[in-house]
Symmetry: C2
Subunit: 422 residues, 2 copies
């Protein structure tokens, strides 16, 4: 029975800066993801500073409670860096000099035309009985130690050093400890609320612990993270998560905009490119955020032509040809003005589509009839337009984001239907 | 002597989701900030899931090593929420029913026209000998317990519940444990590199441990966080940090753009408003990001008129009046085109200032002569223009950000000089 107990895993991040209000450990999120892929779960996370006594205490407590310990940071050349030394002390093992490590560190400096500082010498020491894990992006090697049944892994703190060491040297060694295979999928959703989504799919939530569903809700976007564990093999896990994804997908239909991690602006950019269509944008309350999102996608110049951010009424009239009389009659935040903006930018840019946003992002500027969060989005296509009205909650930037999300989604749904008609 | 030992503080975040790759504890950053204000430092941070045995183990280890323990989360109504129960168990204390807590929770539901679910009943129980800390934003009261010399504070996990409880009920109680007074300042800097800054000010870095300097470097922005501790009182701490800030400020001069936490776009917005000047913007490679940043500031419609995102050459010519011949001669990414864009938008919008960005954000589109990261920024003022050339490193979004930072900074420095001339 003892063998069947799930291994207890502790991730320990070492560094006084991680106890300040300014820095946060993010390496543990990455490690958790990869350990989950092996069918393992993290049991404890600890953060401790460079103080010798406290560090030693945490190491001893970790050794008393965990089967696998990942310690991150404190392997550098400075006096503050004591993780290697403290683990050796807690385990009652010596630190042993390794000539081949010394040579590698020395060569690393020499390649850059520098001589090795004497402080780096301590990085050529290993805990007795441990293996060095090669670091191609820094001077501190990682350390792997089998201490009886316990596994102890020391990794440098900078993510660009930690991740390659983990993938190249730790991941292969962890295969023996693998408890299963995990496959995962992410569905991204927009256009419905969290409770609407729950009502559509909650009966599909699996009861078996080998299938996991995690729902994340942001203003304007929902995400469903699906994971499947299998003892049998990666194909079984993949098959099961795929089947669950398909079921959820069938219920949520077009509300799902991405199954492979893409952001909404990427999806829209791809749909435009596939159809050889072009887009121009007119923004008022979103203030350029829609254009910013669209141009975050590399290669967006293929389909994105231009944007006019028309904050003032004069700009709406001058740049987009929205008649001043219409603005005076309906107000700058209105369906007719949104439609005129979309048409105006479509014509000016000679684009396949014109997309427009006008609304009240707040915190000031709301009235009982037109409250903060009221937003009109309009799409011009061919000689026609469609318009949407929304009332968003949240702070200024959240309202701006939701406006851009709504506009992108209008275009996405339109593009999907365009495809079907062909 | 024992009294003089610094208290060891542990922050423990409870919740299985915090061991997944999707969620991160951020409450501890806020608590660290406020504890630092009392002259206290966090010694340990622990994250543990809802599993009873592991939770109990962490609590016992925390009780064995810390003088003050903050435990966050696990006070909710569901079966998973066991923090209250596990602390009672570890301390060998009973949970006692408190009628007044029951009434408060019941009333909270009744005010919303709901009846109290039976699961919430357990939130009316307190650890024997503890005080309840009123929660005006949720059903779970916080808990304060003096257990011999140890202080134990249990707080609900949602930040909008935790923060008010901390400020209203925990902060006053911590005054007895205060070990000093802390004052802090943040300087934000742009226009110089980290090493240029170091060369200017590193001799000012204080040797006394009561003065702390933390430098944070981001692409396009540096921050110096200054803190001063004093045993004597808040005025002494304030005086010392102010004096250090002034010294650094004198060395860094105009490179410091903010002393009170404002972002660069806020600073520029304020400078424009104070001078009753208006701004219009033309963007190519930054794709609307500059306009987005400017309009993130509430009230920006006072001074920000419009923006044209001119990705295509046609748009540069059509919207901004940049001659096609100039684009063909100099290239879209060139000083003359940047200047023509700035002039073009200034004239079109009849704005006091026109600000323009053109460059190569990558990852594609670079050439040996015009590599990825090459960016021209131009400012049009009156009938004149000035132009800047930069070579930024980083990914697409980082290059976009640095471009907007450079453009805003050009305008800021110009506005500062305008003031002096008056």
């Amino acid at each position: 029975m003892k063998k069947e107990r799930r291994p207890r895993i502790e991730i320990m991040a070492v560094g006084t800066e991680l106890l300040s209000p300014y820095f946060q450990d993010t390496n543990s999120l990455y490690l958790s993801q990869r350990l989950n892929d092996l069918g393992m779960e993290v049991t404890f996370k600890t953060i401790v500073g460079d103080d010798w006594k406290n560090l030693l205490l945490c190491i001893k407590q970790a050794l008393s409670r965990a089967d696998i310990i990942f310690a991150i940071g404190g392997l550098g050349p400075t006096e503050d860096d004591k993780t290697r030394e403290a683990f050796a002390d807690a385990l009652g093992r010596k630190l042993v000099y390794r000539e081949e490590l010394f040579q590698k560190i020395k060569e690393r400096f020499e390649r850059r035309g520098l001589s090795m500082p004497s402080t780096n010498l301590k990085q050529s020491y290993l805990i007795e009985g441990a293996d060095a894990l090669q670091n191609n992006n820094g001077t501190a090697p990682g350390i792997w130690l089998d201490s009886g049944p316990q596994k102890i892994v020391l990794l440098p703190g900078p993510p660009h050093e930690l991740k390659p060491i983990f993938e190249e040297s730790v991941w292969p060694k962890l295969q023996d400890l693998r408890r299963g295979y995990r496959a995962r999928k992410v569905l991204k959703i927009t256009g419905i609320t969290e409770s609407q989504m729950e009502a559509l799919i909650s009966d599909l939530y699996p009861q078996e612990p080998r299938l996991q569903v995690t729902t994340l809700a942001y203003p304007g976007q929902l995400e469903i993270h699906l994971a499947s564990y299998s003892k049998r093999g990666p194909h079984q896990a993949e098959k099961e998560v795929e089947a669950l994804k398909d079921k959820i997908r069938q219920r949520l239909k077009e509300n799902v905009f991405s199954e492979s991690g893409e952001e909404l602006e990427e999806v829209v950019g791809n749909l435009l490119r596939q159809r050889k269509k072009t887009l121009a944008v007119a923004e008022s309350c979103s203030g350029g955020f829609l254009s910013h999102r669209l141009t975050n996608v590399p290669g967006s110049s293929d389909c994105f032509l231009e944007c006019a951010v028309t904050y003032s009424n004069k700009a709406k009239s001058d740049l987009l040809g929205v008649p001043m009389s219409l603005i005076q009659k309906s107000g700058a935040v209105s369906a007719p003005v949104a439609e005129a903006m979309a048409k105006g930018i479509q014509q000016r840019a000679q684009a396949s589509y014109g997309l427009a946003i006008t609304g009240i992002a707040g915190p000031a500027g709301g009235t009982p009839e037109k409250p903060v969060g009221l937003v009109y989005t309009a799409l011009a296509f061919g000689k026609r337009t469609k318009v949407g009205k929304s009332l968003f909650l949240g702070k200024r930037e959240q309202i701006k984001f939701q406006s851009t999300q709504k506009a992108l989604d209008m275009l996405r749904r339109h593009l999907l239907r365009t495809k079907r008609k062909k």
